[in-house]
Symmetry: C2
Subunit: 349 residues, 2 copies
């Protein structure tokens, strides 16, 4: 979402509120209800979305006044950040409220109001410059054109820093220009990310590499989605071989219940390449036994709507039979180059 | 340490072992003892160092054979990584050992042998390409010349990526060429790091910014030290106002017991600018009460040799009286620009 359309969306919220006041009415805000009952799985797009039930913040209702005012302030602050191309952490937003005499009991309350603004606008908070602390990284032969202040229209090739580029405000708002890369390979661990850079695997497989580092920040998911759409690069996801690694892929592909109120994050045709249960067996990987948390997680996923398809059900059943798990790094038992020369060769186009 | 001297150091270990074998003797290795009894505080350099007691790994001693062989393999693997300019995580090294039929009971054992190699050579494992997962970031007007494969002699200005550059293998082995920046400002939180980039504070204070993210990886400490020495940039450290933030600064300045076997990491003339206890009072920062862990930590630091000087003792006593703490972000209560326009103006040259 461009800076201009984000500001426009925020301005129109303010205008509606102003209009109501000028007409002598109490302004109110309406947005979809985020409660569990209203989170439904859309079998067509294969994503979680919000259902039809909605929430109202009515300034004429005494019980709503506080959260109504907080939401208006968060929208004001978001517009200020976006217009000035500034960023803030959620923590920082909480402290900033004091400068305006706006009261939040604690950060949990201000975080919730930020999510309200996301729901109201349908935009992820990163569009407003509100970022978490964690950052993913990216490396590969794709050119991006910056839009952040001081860098307008500067282009950068994402091979220029051999340690990778962090995905922060600047890359999130940059425009993909072109790529000689042909695929995106998203990787769970930093060690594997570095290995694929150093060995030149990124050239061999013509891949843009993305370091996820666990469940990736939404800025990363949004960038992956834009690279998929604007440069038509197919996405492959390579994680640890355990329920958690598999679920990182599943969330990138279909979203999570927590982000059911947001569009523009899921990449439905991304593909999990492994480490699958059969990879563990076929490549004789060193494994660790699954612990109780792993097994419990598998049981949960077995009944999770996102895993209803036969392919995912088979993965879960195979993990349950195997009762063991393996990390991406486990391929090193066959030598440092095995993962590139043998495993990825088998898995990538 | 350059690739060439690192390889030379490792080669000479192998040569000594070979020489002993060719002379019909059992080879042995000698290095300083790392046990707590032998870690001493050097009041002259204000650093932890190892004392005179030493350890022997004697291949003629049955109880030493296993760890002797493991150490030789780790040195071999380190040389292989260094020569090929490749990197490995500690986890990956553990798995790689299986490819060579070398046995470690678990990763804790292989980690310990890596530390043995550090002690034997006096070099941090990052010199051998063995990195942790965490990365710090850097941004500012300093030119670096890469040495990693594929990037030899390419220069990069560390303002080229507005989200910052991760400090990995490539930057760690790059040579500082020149800088128009005049100071280094190391910052605990990612939010503050982004803010100082976006607001142009880096230009105003002619600062190279480093995002520490808690206790920084040793690659980051080593880069700070080299920028201090080779470009003569003084270092200022800006952390949260609590015992943990203060200790991040203290470790950068004087090292830790865990790295007592290493040289080239400490920056004795770096300065902690805050958030100090008096900053909390003078800037009326919103605070949180210290919890038991905070107070216990203060008691420990009070008797820690590194805090023996009057300045540090005063900080600890003031924190104990205050019994509260404040984060870097807390300055936002006075508006988003207060930290740059008022606080840093007061603290930086």
């Amino acid at each position: 979402m461009s800076k201009e359309s984000t500001v426009k969306t925020l301005t129109s919220i303010g205008r509606d509120v102003m209009d109501a006041i000028l007409e002598g009415e109490f302004p109110s805000l309406h947005f979809p209800d985020r409660s569990t009952d209203n989170i439904v799985y859309d079998g067509v797009t294969n994503q979680f979305v919000l259902g039809d039930s909605s929430t109202t913040r009515d300034s004429s209702n005494l019980r709503h006044v506080r959260s109504f005012a907080q939401l208006i302030w968060v929208a004001y602050f978001a517009k200020k950040l976006t217009s000035a191309q500034r960023t803030s952490s959620l923590r920082d937003l909480y402290y900033s409220s004091e400068a305006y005499g706006v009261k939040f009991s604690n950060q949990a309350e201000s975080d919730r109001i930020v999510t309200d603004l996301e729901t109201l606008t349908g935009l992820a908070r990163e569009n407003f410059g509100i970022f978490p602390e964690e950052r993913s990284s990216i490396f590969g032969d794709v050119r991006m054109r910056y839009t952040v202040s001081g860098y307008e229209n500067q282009e950068v090739c994402l091979t220029a820093s051999p340690d990778g580029f962090p995905i922060g405000r600047a890359l999130m708002t940059a425009k993909p220009v072109d790529a000689s890369a042909e695929i995106i390979l998203a990787i769970e661990s930093g060690g594997m990310f570095s290995r694929l850079i150093e060995t030149g695997a990124w050239k061999r497989y013509q891949a843009v590499l993305i370091h996820l580092g666990g469940q990736p920040p939404r800025a990363t998911r949004s960038l992956m989605r834009r690279l998929r759409e604007e440069l038509e690069l197919p996405i492959f996801i390579f994680t640890d071989g355990d329920p958690w690694g598999m679920h990182i892929a599943r969330v990138i592909i279909g979203g999570s219940a927590n982000s059911a109120h947001l569009r523009g994050l899921a990449v439905p045709d991304a593909e999990w390449i492994g480490v699958t249960p059969s990879d563990i067996v076929n490549h004789s990987l060193p494994t660790e036994p699954m612990n109780n948390a792993d097994l419990k997680r598998l049981d949960e996923l077995l009944h999770d709507v996102r895993y209803a398809g036969p392919v995912w059900q088979d993965y879960i059943k195979a993990f349950r039979e195997l009762r063991s798990k393996a990390e991406q790094q486990a391929f090193s038992r066959h030598g440092m180059d095995y993962v590139v020369d043998t495993y990825l060769k088998e898995k990538l186009p």
